[in-house]
Symmetry: D2
Amino acid sequence: MSQLKAVILNCSLKTSDEESNTDALIEKFTSTFDKKNVESEVIRVADYSLGYGITDYTGAGDEWPTILAKVKQANIVILASPVWLGEKSSISKLVLERLNGSSDETNQKGQPIFYNKVGGAVVTGNEDGAKKSAGELIFGLAQLGFIIPPNPLAYWVGDAGPGPSYIEAEGYKSEFTRENATMASHNLVHLAEMFQAHPIPTEGNAS
Amino acid sequence: MSQLKAVILNCSLKTSDEESNTDALIEKFTSTFDKKNVESEVIRVADYSLGYGITDYTGAGDEWPTILAKVKQANIVILASPVWLGEKSSISKLVLERLNGSSDETNQKGQPIFYNKVGGAVVTGNEDGAKKSAGELIFGLAQLGFIIPPNPLAYWVGDAGPGPSYIEAEGYKSEFTRENATMASHNLVHLAEMFQAHPIPTEGNAS
Amino acid sequence: MSQLKAVILNCSLKTSDEESNTDALIEKFTSTFDKKNVESEVIRVADYSLGYGITDYTGAGDEWPTILAKVKQANIVILASPVWLGEKSSISKLVLERLNGSSDETNQKGQPIFYNKVGGAVVTGNEDGAKKSAGELIFGLAQLGFIIPPNPLAYWVGDAGPGPSYIEAEGYKSEFTRENATMASHNLVHLAEMFQAHPIPTEGNAS
Amino acid sequence: MSQLKAVILNCSLKTSDEESNTDALIEKFTSTFDKKNVESEVIRVADYSLGYGITDYTGAGDEWPTILAKVKQANIVILASPVWLGEKSSISKLVLERLNGSSDETNQKGQPIFYNKVGGAVVTGNEDGAKKSAGELIFGLAQLGFIIPPNPLAYWVGDAGPGPSYIEAEGYKSEFTRENATMASHNLVHLAEMFQAHPIPTEGNAS
C-alpha cells in the first residue's frame, strides 16, 4: 500500500493571513488523518489567483494548475466552505467549475480521473445554510466522479440571525459537530483505503 | 377599500391536535394582521385529506378545494413549514404542487389568478435549513404569480444538531426573529394594500 | 456471496394504474441489475397509504413498514422522482422523512442501519429541475448513511417550458441519458458487491 | 415622474470580448425597457476586477464600487447567470455576497437601501439548472430588500446533457421563453413605476 493523501480546499473568502472558522473545524479532520497515517494538506483557495471558466487553465497568471495537481494526487478531497446568505461561498462554486474543466479527462483505464477518490465536505457559518452548502458540494463531487462515504460532512452553525462564528462561539464544544467530524473523517479514510486496495471495476463506466 | 384577508398555510407534519412550533412564530404575523385590521386564518394543512397531483381536484375525498377557495379569497398568502433533513416539509411541497394545478386559471383581466396577491414564508426547525426551505417557498410563490415583498420571511432555527425547537428553546426571545416577523408581516400588509388600490396593469402579462 | 438485492422507490405522484415516465427510465437500471444477477423490485410509492412524520410507524393504516422492510433487505436503494415546479415530488420528500425515522436504528455492529447500502437517483421531467431534484435525493441518502457511487444518477428532461415527457418525447433516444443510466447502474452494483465483501469498518462510526 | 433606470448584471464567466448566450436573452428585456422608456444598462461583471468579501469595498483595485453605484441608482435590477453543473455561476454568487456588504446601509427613511427597487432574474444554459439558479438569485434579492414581481424570470435551457446553448440552439424561437421574457420585463416595469409613485411605508421596516 502506498501512502494515502488528503487535500482539503478551504474556500473561505479570506486569505490565509486571516483566521478562518472553517479551518478550525478542518483540524478535526486532519487530526484523524494524522492518526490514521494519511498525509494531508489544507489549501486556502483565496491565496491563489484563479481565473473563471470551465477549463483546467484560463491562461497566464492562472494558478489553478497548482491546486489541480494536488487534487489529482489525493485519495481524499474535502471541499470546505463558509456560509453567506444561506449558501456556500462563491469561491467554492468557482472550485467546482474549475474541477468540471477536467471532467473529460480519463485515467489509464478510461474512467473519469476523479474515480476511486473519496469526497467530503466541511461547512461553518454563523447561522443557517450548512446543509444546503454541504449538499451542493457533495453532489458536485459525486457528479464529477468522486465516491461519497456515509455521513460525509461536518458542519457548525449558530442559531438564527447574526452572531459569533465557530471559533468565537466555541462551536468545537458541540458534541454533534465533533461526532460528525469523527464519523466523516474516519469514513473518508475507510473508503480511501478500500478503493486503493480494490479500485472500481471499469464495466459500464470507462470510455 | 374592502377588508384585506390573509391565509397562512401551516405545513407542519402534525395535525392540529398537536402543538406546532411553526404556529407559535405565525402568531407574530397574525398579531400584526389584527393590529392592521387584516382578517387572518391559519390552516393546519395536515388536518385535511389531500390527494397527490398537479390539479385542483384529485377526486372524491380530496379536501384541497376547501383550502384553495380560501387562498383565492386572500390578499396575503403565507406558506409556513418546519425543517426536516435541512429541507421544507413534504406537505409544503404538496401545497406548491396543488397550487400549481391552478396555474392556467386566469382572473377577469386574463392574468394568472394569483396576481395581486402577496406571498411570504415562515419557517421553524430545531436546526439548519430555514433559508433553503423559505427560499423554495418564496420562489414557488413568485413563479405562480404572487408578489414578494422585501424581507418576505421570518424563521427560527437552533444551532447545529438535534435540540429543542422554537417553543421549548424560547426562540421568541430572538430579537432577530422578532424583527424579521415585524418586517415581513408589515411589508405583506403594505403591499397588499397597495395592490388592492393599484392592481398590476395587464400589459405583457394577460392572455 | 449471497444474492444482491435492489429496491427502486418510484416517487411519482401517480399510482401504478397510470404509466410513469420515471418507470421507463428505471428500466435501464433494472436491465443492468438483471444482467448482473441482482434481484430488483420497483415500488410505486403512491400505491401505499403513508402517514406523515419522522417515524417508522405513524399508526393504524400506515403502510410504510412494508416499504421499509424491503429497504432494509436491499443492498442498493434508488430514489426516483418526477420534477414538478423545478423540484422533486412531495412524495419523494415524504420518503426521505420516513427513512429519517429510522436514523437512530443501528446494525449489529452499532452503525446506522443504512451503512453498507449503496444509493442512487433517477429523475425525469418534461423540463428543468433534474439536478436539483437528484442532488437533494443523493444528499439525503448520504446523510442517512448510504454510500454514493461516482455518477450516481440518470435523468432526462426536455428543453425549457411545457412539453412532452420522457416516453412521449422519446427521451430513451438520448445518448447522454442512456450512458448515465449505464454508468450509474453499474457503479451501484460494483459498490454493492464491494461493500458486501468488505463492509465499512466500525472505527469512528459505531455507537 | 423621473426617468426609470434598469441595470442588468450579466454574471457570465466570460468577459465581454466573448459572445454571451445570456446577453442574447437579456435583449428581450432591454427591448421592453426601451419601449417603456426605461433607461437600461447591461454590465458584464467579468469585465471588472472584484475582490472577495461581504463588504462594499475590499481595497485597492476593487472595482465593485463602480457597479454598486449603478445598482443604487437603478429602479430595476436583474441578476443574469449562465448554468454550470446545474447551478448559477460563481460570479453571480460573488455579486450576491458583494450586495450583502451593503445590507446595513439605509435610505433617508431608515429602510434598507434596496427597498423600492424591483428585482428579477435571467438564466441560460445548455441544460438543466435554470430554476435552481433563478430561484437562488430571486430569493437573494428578496432577502436584501428588493421587491419581486410575479413571474420575475425568463430562462432557456436545452434538454438533458451537453448540447448547444441559447444562440446556437435558436432558443429565441421558444415561445415559452419569449412569453416569460415579456411577462417578466413588463412586470418589472409595472412595479418599478408603482413603487416610484407609491414607496413602501416605513412602518415595521425602518430603523
